[in-house]
Symmetry: C2
Subunit: 228 residues, 2 copies
DNA sequence: CCAAAAGTGTTGAGAGTACACCCATGC
DNA sequence: GCATGGGTGTACTCTCAACACTTTTGG
């Protein structure tokens, strides 16, 4: 097996999700940051953050780095999504992109740096993007919504402690449907991933809500993923 | 974004599963073909079939081609598994491998070509393999066993028509546990992926079993995968 | 008739859903 | 008090596992 002369080029891109209140409805929806391309191909179109893979950098590290470079944020969740490598996905050059998807904290994303060439978009109202990036985002959205282990995912959008209402808000925003508060409480309590604290949130004109914490030990068991 | 000088090299490998009766127990178990490395690194160790990615070949096509080259078989199922790219996974050279997993027909795999440098191994009794290939196979096994849409997968191991007992055998071999025939029948019948034929299999000293066919239309709906 | 697997019926446990209802707070 | 969301109780449906039972063949 000798390495052939004609080679494909390796890139790493990241789909970064955050939860932000919609400007009009106020409901929380999924947003993601895109970067404006400053050169051809697809100059001036919006695209996923990413870049060529340096030979001395791990794949996930490259994804996390481009995430920090474009948003000044650190990922709370980062996972490989898929590798896209269609021959004609980039004009002229054969580019194979290993795509990651990441979740970042909502509140932090509010004050995240946005410049002329970085902008946040509502995930389901994207303009036409460069390359096959619309398809990639669609697939990332599908993966997010059909992911079984919601526990880690929902937690990635929240702070260290949170109320069940906040957690339910996250689930509702991701799943795009209302959840019964009573049943949601029970299913969370029986999932074994939550630790109830003694703290409560006062200040609202109703009964104070108890604060919960995520149980990190819940991760130690099952995940037989590719990275161990 | 200029392409850096130091580049990683792209390879495509495939984990190929077939169902064969174990030599001793006679029970069906998962087997996979490996190729012996004829050069360094890891000369003489067994490894997954694969090779460098030609710039003019699609990823899945490269996976299917190496499958045919090593086994003379055509894949009945082929899906991208994961992309492995740890810096130190190959000594000396930075290699990023896009790994696919495939299923082939059991009976056909029986008479598949095996030479000095190709051999079939029981999937859960592998020797130490080259590179990180043990880890890759482990992950492929996990994906196979936790895959939700068993319909397509189990069908990939069978012929065009099959009895419910044969289909149940496949499920039992993959899941490594016995299934209740009555309940299995009902769950299959209600899944909407089977078409019952009027044919029956005679010759056994018990009631003849009806033959079923897989309903290809069942695939047209849901799959929002990365490839459309 | 007998063994063996095909195929049917029935039951109970558990998960998920809908919804009525009580609790504690700010105003 | 009253509105509001936090939190509890309960009944209903549906899925699934367990298993008794009937059917149809070969020997």
């Amino acid at each position: 097996m000798e390495r052939g002369s004609a080679q494909a080029t390796l890139a790493v891109s990241t789909v970064i999700f955050a939860l932000r209140p919609d400007d009009e409805s106020g409901l929380k929806t999924l947003w993601l940051p895109l970067v404006r391309r400053t050169r051809d191909p697809h100059r001036d179109l919006w695209a996923l953050p990413g870049g060529w893979l340096p030979a001395d950098e791990e794949l996930a590290a490259a994804a996390g780095r481009t995430l920090r470079e474009t948003t000044d944020l650190s990922p709370r969740y980062l996972e490989q999504l898929y590798t896209f490598g269609d021959i004609d996905r980039s004009p002229g050059l054969r580019v194979v992109s290993v795509v990651y998807w990441a979740l970042v904290r909502s509140e932090v994303a509010e004050r995240a740096s946005v410049g002329e060439n970085v902008r946040w978009f509502a995930a389901d109202q994207l303009p036409p993007l460069a390359f096959d990036h619309n398809r990639i985002v669609e697939y990332a959205l599908w993966r997010l919504r059909t992911k079984v282990e919601y526990a880690r995912i929902a937690h990635a959008f929240l702070g260290d402690t949170f109320t069940l209402a906040q957690l339910r808000d996250v689930h509702e925003a991701v799943l795009q449907k209302a959840l019964d508060p009573a049943n949601f409480r029970r299913s969370m309590e029986s999932s074994g991933t939550l630790i109830s604290t003694d703290q409560h949130v006062a200040g609202a004109r109703h009964r104070p809500a108890r604060l919960y914490r995520y149980d990190d030990r819940a991760n130690e068991h099952d995940p037989p993923g590719p990275t161990r």
